[in-house]
Structures are given as structure tokens and as C-alpha cells.
Symmetry: C2
Subunit: 266 residues, 2 copies
Amino acid sequence: MFSITEFAEMSPEMARNLCRNGDLVRPTAGISTGYTQANLVVLPKDLAYDFLVFCQRNPKPCPLLDVTEPGLAEARITAPGSDLRTDLPRYRVWEKGELVEEPLQVTKYWKRDMVGFLLGCSFTFEGALLNRGIPVRHIEEGRNVPMYITNIQCEKAGSLEGPMVVSMRPVPSEMITRTVLTTARFPSVHGAPVHIGDPGKIGIKDMGRPDFGDSVTVKEGEIPVFWACGVTPQAALMRSKPSFALTHSPGHMFITDRRDDDYAVF
Amino acid sequence: MFSITEFAEMSPEMARNLCRNGDLVRPTAGISTGYTQANLVVLPKDLAYDFLVFCQRNPKPCPLLDVTEPGLAEARITAPGSDLRTDLPRYRVWEKGELVEEPLQVTKYWKRDMVGFLLGCSFTFEGALLNRGIPVRHIEEGRNVPMYITNIQCEKAGSLEGPMVVSMRPVPSEMITRTVLTTARFPSVHGAPVHIGDPGKIGIKDMGRPDFGDSVTVKEGEIPVFWACGVTPQAALMRSKPSFALTHSPGHMFITDRRDDDYAVF
């Protein structure tokens, strides 16, 4: 119904409205290029405090972009007029840490005491890498980014704890400096790498078998580069088995009105 | 009892222990040079959630460095083994927004449901400015930094709202670029300036009459540079008149084990 170019040039508001009307049911990669996409986590207020503190203590894996007022579903700061209950293409409903449904809207599940959290995703810095001529292998190979559970422990907050999950992108050694500087510009969206080189040093035993996502080719002369990953907070959360939670469905992100470069510090 | 050099070279732990034993009762400027000093705000848990969200929404004026577990008084992340009830030289006790006491310890006021917040202070980036050869006028003139209430509104969170307060430092025009880049390195401790030049543009009517602190000389060829100020969250908080709150006494900061450069992103 829309061409690749039409999707890329679509305003975030139009994309959200299409979702709201049930006319956009697909992953959001490539939609509204240059606008920041975000992960969604929705929790009852009683768990929201611990989640806020967990994000404050672990800012690299948990880049919090927006928090709704309890009971309200508008992402007032990053997307005024939006409705987090309807404006994503697909959701996941969790009960006691178990996935129970993957609906297109979650209006009927949104209770008065719920708080919505939007967390930055790696699309933001991948755009910056591509703009600087740095290859992003999993995009080239049409796969999901490989993600690994590390031996780096997050700082605990209340009931929430767990290891840091990282994403990996192989980078030609002559581009490592540029890669570090490019992603350091975005400290509020994962920022600079947490580790470069030997995967064993952060507890990764087999790069060919990621814990999440797909493996990708690491070519001769390339060095694996690891960034803190937004799966970390969701993994910590699911471990605590909250009575109820809503999230986006993987790849089906919330598209904000903020531009990726709004999150650059220099 | 200690020389200027002994204070400067003192470990943060020793400085905190001196406070704990009542042997250090003075402003902390110049103590444990290079280590990050922080503002303290202590609130009952029921207000802590709004304060956390306010800080998340307004990261430039509200750089949150550490949050205690409810009821615990240890700054576990930034100063393991510390006790926020005793390790600052002087405190303020607030009831319904009114200052009622300025004791040397607050152990008897610390209730089970209280949460301690440590917020970054401008000492961190002033050290970086001085290291780069950029003059800091209020230090030269032995005054407190001038602070002004602006017409920039903070993002509201629950009951907390208010204007952004800024601090001002006059900078020779040929050093403005260096000043921006130097402070941009510290996005988690106020970061780059929020405004440079014409004070009227941000609602400041008379630079000679700051709302907090002292006025300083602006010399020929200097441009006023404005940074988001840590007084902002305290002002928003006091406006909401919480039933009870504790803070540090102005200038009597908490000295963490973190080095200023730990907060640099590059």
C-alpha cells in the first residue's frame, strides 16, 4: 500500500495514526527515517518505581526517553497527542512473566494505575553509523542483530536485577575509532561501546550462538564491538515476573516526534 | 586543623569520616579535589516517585547520580560504606517547605520510608573549565555563583513543576567554543550551556540582581554563559511544600568516591 520511499518519508504522526486505525501492521524499521523509535514497557505503578531506579542506575542499557503520568497513555514529551495503547503496530501482553497474547491494540488492558516507559533503541545510533560509512552487518545480511548475555552485572534496584545484555556489530579495525566517536555522541541512547574485542572477557563463550537475535558474519580484519542493549531492562523485568506488563512486539516500535540528532550531545 | 593542601588531597572516605565524627564542619569546596561532590535531597517514598520522574524529564538541571533504596542511608553506587545521615558537614530540615533546623547530622530524622537522592553539582564542570584555562569569575572574586530564575519552564512531573534556574559565568568571547566543548563532555552533570549571550532572551531582567547567590563582574569583551543549575529541582520541590524533606546545607556537599572524569563521555 505504501512504497519503501513513502514509508521512509512518512511523518511519525501519520505512522502512528495508521497504527491506530489498524492500517499498519509490520515492523517499523525503515518507517519515518531519522525519527527516534522506542521500546515500550508498561507496568503497574507499584513496580514502576523500581523500574525507574533500575534505569537511573543502568543508563547505558536502559536509556529512558519518556515516562507517562500514571493512568495516562500519551507520550507527552516525545510525541504529544499520541496514544500508547493504539499507536504501535503490535503489542505483547505478559502475565507473571509469561507471554499470553500479541494484540494490535491494548486499550482494554490499560488500567488506571499503569505507567508507560519509552526506552531508546539501537536504530538511533545505527543510523549514525551508516551515515558515517560504517557497515552494519546484520542490516547487510537481513538479520536481527546478535545479542548476548554477559558476565557484567547490572546495578540492582529493588526487585530488579540481572546481567547486562549486549548487541554486537563487527567493525573493520581501521574504523574502530570512528565507531567509538560516532556512538559516543548519543550517551542517552546506549552511547559508546561497553566492550571491544575478545568476547570471552565479558563472558561470551560462543559468538556463533547468540542468546537473542541471529548470528552474523565476522570477516577477516574485523573486530567485534559490543554495545549495551535495550533487551537488558526487559530481561531483568521478566525475571521478576510482574503480575502484569505490556510491551511492544519485537521490531514493532513506537515512533516518536524526536529526531535522532536531538539525542546527540555534540 | 588541616592545611589547604591536606584538605585537597584528603580521600573522600576520610572527609566523610571526619563529618561523621563531627570533626569537619565547613563548606566542602576545595576538599578531595577531583572527586565528584553532590547535592542531597531526602524525601518520603510517596514523593520520591514524582521526584525521580521530574529528574528524568529535566536531566540538564537535575543530574541524578545516585538513589538510595528506601530506608537505607548508604549511597551504594557512588560511595559504598557511606552514611547519608552523618557524612555531610551540615544539613537542612524542611517541614511543609519551611526551613526548621540546620543540624550537623540527621540520623534522628531519617525514617524507614525515606529515599536519598544525590544530584551532580557544578563543581564538576568548573574543575574542567579551570583545567582548560577558562576563568571562573565567582571563584576569582570569592563569591557564590550568580543564579537566575528563567522563563524556560521545566517539564512537569506529578506535583512538581517550575522554571529552570540557571547559573551564569562570564567567558571571554574567544573562549566560548572551548567552554561549550569542555562542558559538553559532562552531559550527566549539567553539560553544555543552555544559553549564551542576551540574558533577556531567557527572561533575566537584571544581571546585577541574581535570584540566588551573588552578582559577579562581567568584563569588557566577555559574554554571559548560562548553565542549567541544580537549584532547579530543589526550588520545584520546595514549591510543592512536601510534609518533610532533608537536604544538604548550601555549599556543604556530599563527597562521593567517583572522580569528576568518570562523568565525562569523551
